[in-house]
Symmetry: C2
Subunit: 191 residues, 2 copies
DNA sequence: ACCCTTGTGTCACTTTGTGACATCAACTAT
DNA sequence: ATAGTTGATGTCACAAAGTGACACAAGGGT
């Protein structure tokens, strides 16, 4: 049992987001963040591999949830049903954190390197989800495509949800997107 | 007309990839790369915003091609036809560079920050493609989803193509993936 | 009391990235 | 041709991001 537990970590995350939001990401130094959290810069880098990671570290909690909901049932399922369940669960888990996520997204969108990190993290999730789908009994090749499309849709909905105050909830958006994915390929351009 | 034209830039790219491949990305310093190319580190950073960018700078040529092929026709098209044409053109443009791309992909896959950069670049392309699709007459919301799915599929095929020596060509893979995307949602798991 | 673990600090160092200014060859215009 | 301009590069100084090695101190267990 740690002597001074995760307290420092949380203070670092809070200090980092605050500074990113009101000074800008590039203008915030790790030194300032660390001092604001009451630790030294060296401690920052013990918790987070680099300055970017402090924005994404908390997401790691969600992956086990996603994998769990894929693995929990047994018996044959149709892919779109499985996908609806998995993405719906993920959406529900995130729904309550909209304010925090929106602040974070503003920071991410302000610097290209950060969008890259966000996508890289999702790509690693996608690999694990693919593995879970294969474990669940889907053919490997199609599991990859399912996971790829699933994440693409989820990203899409997430960003729209964060950008559109007062619009439909995330879970609803994900549901709609899934319903529409089949027909979108049949849409025709108007000119 | 520049006095010493793009020569330095090309030498820098070559030197960088060589060093990344045989020393590893993290172990290669910008200083070494620059000296190997016969310039100073300062010059490296004039051509490339950072150490990562040297791996991706050449991709910028492909975006105009992609946008062009979407914009060139007029008249109504079905989305899947448009997508097949665009992704097919992109695949064809890349097909001949497999060796180079494969070397590069090994470097990218060896460090997470690099996959992030790759994805961030594609995300910016995706935005431009979405705009092009809207300009072509597709409804905005569906243009976004089309672009998202298109890129997800292309990435998928690209990586499979690079990983699988002697397998089908990239263009063929992209064609197959597009044909299968509709039915993949109906697939059932085996348990 | 003793060790052992664990989170943190300190220090020195490399690497990345930038701003300001100097240089020098080639092109341009008179 | 002479002068001025332009553009790529070099030089220098410096801030910020990371890292490795070692020290220290508090708590827990034997």
């Amino acid at each position: 049992m740690p002597r001074w537990p995760e307290d420092s970590r949380r203070r670092l995350v809070d200090a980092a987001i605050s500074q990113f939001v009101d000074r800008g990401y590039a203008e915030s130094t790790v030194e300032n963040i660390a001092l604001a959290a009451g630790v030294t810069p060296r401690t920052f880098f013990r918790y987070f591999a680099d300055k970017e990671e402090v924005l994404f570290a908390d997401d790691d909690d969600l992956l086990p949830l996603l994998i769990g909901v894929i693995a929990e049932d047994t018996g044959p399922v149709r892919a779109d049903v499985q996908m609806r369940k998995a993405l719906g669960t993920l959406a529900a888990a995130v729904e309550s954190r909209r304010d925090l996520l929106k602040r974070r997204q503003r920071v991410i969108d302000s610097h290209i390197a950060l969008s890259g990190r966000e996508l890289a993290k999702q790509a690693r999730w996608q690999k694990d989800v693919t593995t879970a789908l294969i474990g669940r009994g889907f053919p490997p090749g199609q599991s990859e495509i399912l996971a790829a499309i699933g994440f693409a849709l989820f990203r899409q909905c997430l960003h729209a949800w964060l950008a559109d105050d007062g619009g439909p909830g995330l879970e609803a958006r994900v549901g709609d997107a899934l319903s529409g994915v089949r027909s979108v390929l049949d849409v025709r351009s108007s000119r």
